[in-house]
Structures are given as C-alpha cells and as structure tokens.
C-alpha cells in the first residue's frame, strides 16, 4: 500500500506544476492567455486520455476529440434543459461519455493495431457529420436544442465564475484526471494493461479479462474526453462543430505521440503544442496558413527526431544533468 501513495520525483514535479498552474498562472495571464490556457487545460485532459490508452495498452483511439464533442454536447444539453449546477452537468457528461466510449469499444474490441485505429477514425468521421448537421444545443427546444440567434447562457461552477477562477478549476480537473490514470496504473488494471499491451493472448492466459480491461480503458478515455468537452463548453459557453473534426482527433493523437505518451509531461507538451503554439504564432502575426505549415513541419520533425516524444527527450536531458536519479515516469 505504501507504493500506492508513493510520490515519485516526477510526481512531485507534476504536483508542483499543477500548483503553479492553480496558484500563479491565472494571475499572470490576461484575458487572451486565460482563454488560451483554459482551452489548453481542457485538451490536456483529453490528450491524457488518448496518451494513456496508447502508452498503457498500445491502443490507438482516433476519436478522442469526437468524444469531447459528445461530452460537450451532453453538458450543453443538460445545462439548457435543467437547472443542475455545473458539477452535476460535468459529472453526468463525463459518465455518459464514458458509457458512449464503452459502446464504441464493444465492436472495436475485436480489433487491434491499425484496424482499431481506423474503426475509431470512422467513428470520429461519423461524429463530425452529426455535429455539423445538428450543431450543439444552445438553448433551443426539442431534443437537439438548437435555436437560431444567440444562445442562452451556460452556467459555470459557482466557485469559478471569473475567467481566472475557471482556469484554476480546469487545471484542478486535469490534475484529478492524471491522478485517476496514475492510480489505475499502480493497481490491478495497470498490470493487466501492461500485459495486454505485450500480448493479448498472454494476458488471457494469465487470467486477465481482456475484453473487460480494454473496455475499461476506452471508458476512462471517454470519461476524460467527456469531462474535457464539458469543461470546454464551460469555457466558451457554447460549442461549434468546427472544433470536433475527425482530423483534430488524428491531430491530438499525433501530438500525444510527439509530446511523449508515457508521461504527464508529454501530455502537457502536446496540449501546449496544440493550443499555445498557434496562439504565439498568431501574436507574432504569422499568417494562419503559414502557421499550419510550421505546425505540420514541427510535427513531422518531432516524430522523426524524438522517438520517446519531446517530453522523453527533455527528461533524458534532465537525467543526464542530474546523475544517479532513477526517475520512473509518474
């Protein structure tokens, strides 16, 4: 049990980063950066979901942003239909998306590797069309809840009404997400997943219920993605289908690999690349099309030169600086 609550150096660094994000970052940021960091926080949570599936089970989900859309859709739907507080909407949206993830997983479980990735890509393509066709609820009537003209207000958590407080809230949620993953990793599911990644046959032979654990993993990714979507809805007050294209799901996975799927640092790098880099390029006045080119080139470069991801490279560098410290990823 001591092992369960043992905090590794990397873990301390993570807690420190979260503390910085919660205590200091918001007061340093203006409204623009608050908005950038908030959406980075939301996507961090979603990226944590894909990265964990990939790192722990070797499963590739190309539908994570689609799942975010599902979570966001549900959160909006609940917000406009009922008077629940934000937390309830968040929890329900995350849970429902988890269930959605399970349902998605059921047919996908027979597959692995590329095929699994492609089925999830098909799901992402389908969700993209559905979002584009029906849009996100904005206070209208009926099941789809869409009205023309400006939408109704989205209620934020009562403790996080301001943009600053909301950023804190999002970072705290992301931290919880990482803790949830880490907890799983240290317990029975973590061991089962490690073996499944090695070989599903070996896992079955070792008494691991492969279906259950794979479904479970999909559920967790869905949970994180759903929560991320609900948080994003809270950040913007409304959602647009343009955010949830299938290509964005692919991009998120690519970034998770580029950042380094095995560590929280990698997810952070990925989220920063996804949200902060374009914001910086935008401030520098780089043409949006050119920043696409830069982004794509950076992605390729990182995939080629950093097999462990950028975070892996940075951590290796750090380890070389401080010898004798055997840090295991948290």
């Amino acid at each position: 049990m001591r092992q369960l609550f043992h905090v590794t150096p990397s873990g301390w660094a993570g807690l420190g980063t979260a503390a910085f994000g919660i205590l200091i970052l918001p007061s340093l940021s203006n409204s623009y950066w608050l908005s950038v960091f908030t959406s980075m926080g939301c996507f961090l949570l979603a990226i944590a979901g894909v990265a964990f599936m990939y790192a722990r089970l070797g499963m590739v989900s190309l539908t994570q942003v689609g799942l975010m859309g599902v979570g966001g859709w549900i959160a909006l739907r609940l917000n406009h239909a009922f008077d629940f507080p934000f937390e309830v909407n968040l929890a329900l949206a995350a849970t429902a998306t988890m269930i959605f993830g399970w349902i998605l997983a059921l047919p996908a479980l027979r597959m692995r590797g590329l095929y699994l990735a492609l089925v999830t890509l098909m799901a992402a393509g389908g969700l993209e069309i559905i979002f584009a066709t029906f849009q996100f609820p904005n206070g209208g009537a009926g099941f789809w809840g869409v009205q023309t003209g400006s939408g109704a207000a989205f209620r934020r958590p009562w403790i996080a009404q301001s943009a600053q407080a909301y950023l804190r809230y999002v970072i705290a949620c992301a931290l919880l997400g990482f803790l949830c993953i880490e907890l799983h990793r240290r317990l029975q599911p973590g061991r089962a997943w490690a073996l499944i990644r090695r070989s599903e046959a070996a896992a079955m032979a070792a008494g691991v219920n492969v279906t259950l654990y794979k479904t479970w993993a999909f559920g967790i990714a869905g949970l994180l993605g759903g929560a991320a979507g609900a948080l994003l809805a809270g950040s913007l007050g409304l959602l647009d289908d343009g955010t949830f294209r299938a290509s964005e799901s692919v991009m998120i996975f690519a970034l998770a690999v580029v950042g380094g799927a095995h560590s929280w640092q990698g997810a952070l790098v990925a989220a920063a690349l996804y949200k902060v880099l374009p914001a910086v390029l935008n401030i520098w006045g780089v043409d949006a099309n050119l920043s696409f080119v830069i982004f794509g080139a950076g992605l390729l470069h990182a995939v080629i030169t950093a097999p462990q991801g950028i975070a892996g490279q940075l951590l290796d560098g750090l380890r070389r600086l401080s010898p004798k410290r055997e840090a295991r990823d948290a």
Partner: protein, 318 residues
Amino acid sequence: MRLARYGNWLLWALLMAAVIGVLGWGGRPQMVGLFIASGLAVGSLYALAGIGIVVLYRATGVLNFAGGAAGAAGAMTAWQLTAWGFWEPLGWLACLLVATAITLFYGRLIAPRLAWRETVVKAVATLGFALIILGAISFLWADDPRSISLPTDAVGVRLLGMRITATRLLLFAASIGIVIGIWLFLARTTIGLQMRALASDRDLAALMGIPILRVETIAWAIAGLLAGFTGLMFADLIRLEPSVITFMVIPGIAAAICGRLENLVVVLIGGLSMGVIENMLTMSPVLRGVRPIAPFVIAALVLLYYQRGQRLTFGGRD
C-alpha cells in the same frame, strides 16, 4: 471455401438491392437512376482514393493521409497553368507531376526515417505532411471560386433520360482499369512481389536483399500519380477546393477498409457502394441530413462483419 466467397458477394448484392429498393421506393425511377449514377461517380472517387491508399500501404506499410493534399496541390497547379493561358493538357500533366513529386518527396526523404515506427504513427505523421501541403496551398492561392473542366465534360450520352458525361464514364472505366492493372502488377511482376514482401515485413525484406529504396520509390510514385489523377477528377466532378480535396482521404480510407486494406476489387466495389448508398439516402426524409455519414457507417459495419466470430489471438500485430 469458395462457396463462402460467393456467399459474401450474394449477401452484398442482396443488401445493395434492399437499400436501393427501400430508399427508392415510391420515387420516380428516373430520379432513382440519377441518384445511382451520381453515386457511382462519387463512389469512383472514394474508390480511387482508397486504391491509392491501399497500394501504398501494401507496398510500404504507410497509410497515407496526404494523398488528398497532394492531389489538391496538383489540381491547383493545373488550374493556375490554365489561368495563365497554357495549353490545357499541359495543366493536366502538371497536376500528375506535382502530385507525384510531392508524394515522392515524402516517400524518399521523410518516410524512410519513420520506417521503424508503428503503422499508426507512420499514418498520423502523413497528416502532418498534409497540413504542410494544405497550408502552403492556402497561402499561395487566396480563397476564390475556381473550377476545372475537362473536354470530356462536353461529351455525354443519354441513358434513361439522364445525361452521363464522358468524364464520368472515363472515371468509372479508369478505376476498373487501375484496379486490374495494379492487381496484375502486384501479382505477376517481380517488383510487385517485392512490394508485397516489403509491406509484410520491411526489415526482413531488406535482409532478403530487396532494394528497399528503389521498390518504395516506385510505390510512392504510383501513389502520387493516383493522387494526382484523383485530385484532377475530383476538381472536375465535385469541386476545386483544396481543403475539401484534402479531407477526401477520410472516405477514401473508408473504402480502403472495405477491402481490408488489401483487396483492390473489394475497395472498388466498396467505394462505389458507399457513393450509391450515400446518394440514395437523399431519398429518405429522415436520413438525408446525415447522408455523408454513410461511408463511415458502412466501413465500420464491414470491418465488424469481417471480424465476426474471430477471437483475438497472438502477437501485437493486426
């Protein structure tokens, strides 16, 4: 075994007939015909995109998301040359050349550095390349309504009261011809065999003395040519809009999935069926809003059908 094979075809034919029957019920026969003809054209494009993907995947193990972008770059070049007053065939040729050059650039300079990575990582890396191409295209050509038309558009035959242009016929014939040609190439030639060897296990193929770089270059060149041709056809038949042509790869992948990333004939038939079903959905008041979802649903169902009754067994491979 053989019976099972025919069983699949029979099942497919029945399903298609059922879909067309149910959706077309009560519609004017001529409209149904028009929807089918229109579906076959889009379907050929899906199939062509899928064929490009499968050929490259089988030979190099790279699932290429950038084919659409390369085709878009080619089509834009063709448009530009024509706008500058060059002789049109020169533009078409340039389209093929540009798409091939872009694809080869990736195949020669970037893909080998990623050869040892997992398939999925290699696939998403090509998305990065697609972004580069798309960004560059949008930077070079401001958004403007454009179109390309081939001389074959002017020629057409009338069939059951609908007009079918020579372009559509050409596309249809070309996709069948390409499938047959590539199938023969892979099955009958040494390079084709080497390509298949490479796709199965690149390291081992190298160990067997197969000149990896040369074979891969050929595969990428074929993929580039196909991408250019698809881009040109897409620009003519659907529209000349780089981002739309770029993301055409996603339904293309759906078509490729139907053939399990392997069987070109099934890719062709799958692509055509997707196009037809997607168009036929227009006749359903309930489903017409979501008709573009058809390729994804079909691909997912087909995959499930393939995997039915199968238990997971060994290894980390698919």
